[in-house]
Amino acid sequence: MSLQILEIFEPGETPLPHAEAPGIAVGIDLGTTNSLVALSRDAKPEVLRDAAGRGMLPSVVAYDAARPPQVGEEARRVLLDEPERVVSSVKRLMGRGARDIKALAGRLPYEIEPDAAERMIRLKVAGKSLTPVEVSADILRALKARAETSLAREVTRAVITVPAYFDDAARTATRDAARLAGLEVLRLVNEPTAAALAYGLDRGAEGLYAVYDLGGGTFDISVLRLEKGVFQVLATGGDAALGGDDFDHLIAQQFLRQREEDGGGGDLSVGEAKQALLTARIAKECLTEHTDGEWMLEVGGRQSRHRLDIAGFEALIAPLVARTITTAKAVLADAGLAPGEVKGVVLVGGSTRVPLVRREVAALFGRAPLADIDPDEVVALGAALQAEALTGGGDTLLLDVTPLSLGIETMGGLVEKVIARNTAIPAARAQEFTTYQDGQTAMMIHVVQGERELVAQNRSLARFELQGIPPMVAGAARIRVTFAVDADGLLTVSAEERTTGLSQAVVVKPSYGLDEEEMIAMLRTAMENAGEDMVLRLLTEARVEAERVLLALDAALKADAGLLAAPELATIERRMALLRQAMAAEDRHAITAALEALDQATQDFAARRMDHGIRQALKGVALDRLASRLEAEDPS
């Protein structure tokens, strides 16, 4: 290499010895409530949007026995009328078992298959049996398709973000989902780290920063040092089951309690549980900007009204917010820092819009938090930057840590930690164990993740048996167990009997994961689907979307045509006719163009209906009905 003879070229004009087109890779924020896909070029990340300019794709999937799943806004609309065929917040189920799900008034917002508790959960939706991995794969497919439409090229590689506090099972589940969706995961990046990357590169931040990330279903807090392009995570912590969804839950519970006190008890159906949570969410979002409001629930055909003001809301969620603050303090202590040493606090995640959250974070750090990059987008932007760095080469360096300690079960149900939390990854550690009985020839190795002393209090990741240990007296065998965590935070465990050299390597397939057979079957189905003619599929999708818009608009006009002046109405009707014409033909682009034209013509109309609707709502109209009106469904 030292004998290479060089010329000086103009910036960026050094000829490529092999003109390979550098492959692109996108960054994906696979969120509990919303997901985004972004692409970075020349260190300028951008969220990829749909034809209507929307960056966020609701992480909601509607299933139908006959049709392919609908993802995003469409699915969210279905949630209002046919909640039983819709899955939302599936991220909370990634790598989880049945007993991890939270019930609302004794009713889960999912129909789950009665199955062994030690397995990945399966949801019963529209006659199908689906794992969270498959549902997530459907969301990822929609994001992939969005990216491909937006970039007009195939997209097969991605950086996907996960909560820093995700355990090994949830990380593996995320990787599996990507595989099903036909995406190669270049790296799983922790969400707060991705956010820091976007902030650091965009704002030139240097020094110690905390990232407080409260999303729909997960909470993370990370402390990082940013210096000369190095993003070094010093400590991280969080709660993989705490987020804005839990705020909704508390509100819904309160409403249901009030009903009961008024003698309006009664069992919820799964659909009603979902709708109650949706109403609660609308209430929460409303209370971010207004001081109070009234909402309506309908259970078993009986309606009830519920008032909530901001003080009441804050009293409900205060214990949860306090929990995040306690975690934040613990993480600072782990990093050996006092809150005052942190130079800036970055807010990430939609739930950081809640005023109480902002106040508490500001109080802890003694400074106003930064939220000047959209908290909904910052993670996807960071993921895109990392995707670019991984494919095109970059100067930045992300050094992350393990969020949770990894250990193995020893005598008496105790945990022996092998890799401590906040160890920089990749990491590998070995520990020696021995036999405890004379002539023992096999040893069970039980891998657990968590901070508690007892095995039962931690998450069980995997069990495997090291066999063929030569019979020896108790304590003579020397079994060396090596834990290796890679740059994605995924664990591999291997064991070796040192006196004989007998060894076994085991890739940890989490207890709540999919086994290889299930995975292969799912991949085969996915391949068959992908085998369909792509053009045909896109054409079908465009028609379906157009059909949906036309139906919705018809309903809206029937209800509120009075809000339009005659010429406006004429324009809309003309464009609707044009769209119907395009739909009859075979050109997807013509449909999209006609749809866009119609969308433009109806924007004012939509805004007026929205205003009108909100005025109604604040007068006390049932919000769930309002929501359906806003979604332009026929209320009758």
Binding site: S2, L3, L6, I8, F9, P11, G204, G229, G393, D395
Partner: protein, 111 residues
């Protein structure tokens, strides 16, 4: 770092100055980068630098400013940039005085 990451020979410095003068645009110096090449591994790149990159290592030697891309620093530490010229070819080369019996880049990572 007290010691400069790399050095520039008189011949190379003369050449750089001449090229910069010929180019006639304001210039922060020249930038040395490193690039991965499909089948042949790594190669250096040399470009005029309009401005200093945020993480560039700056070396000033013999009146020329050399900006080193952070990815390249590790490969260039302790090297000397020279100019070579014969009947058939001419150009810049990086000479690595630490290379003992062609034994590699890890060896040259001294600070």
């Amino acid at each position: 770092m007290a010691q400069a990451a790399m050095h520039v020979t008189e011949a190379a410095a003369e050449r750089v100055k001449a090229l910069l003068a010929k180019r006639g645009k304001p210039c922060a110096g020249i930038r040395v980068g490193i690039r991965t090449v499909g089948c042949s591994g790594l190669s250096y790149t040399l470009e005029y630098a309009e401005e200093k990159g945020r993480f560039d290592e700056v070396v000033e030697d013999k009146g020329v400013t050399v900006l080193i891309d952070p990815k390249a620093v590790m490969f260039l530490l302790g090297t000397t940039m020279d100019w070579t010229e014969d009947k058939t070819k001419q150009g810049f080369i990086f000479v690595n005085p630490n290379e003992k019996g062609r034994c590699g880049c890890g060896e040259s990572f001294h600070v």
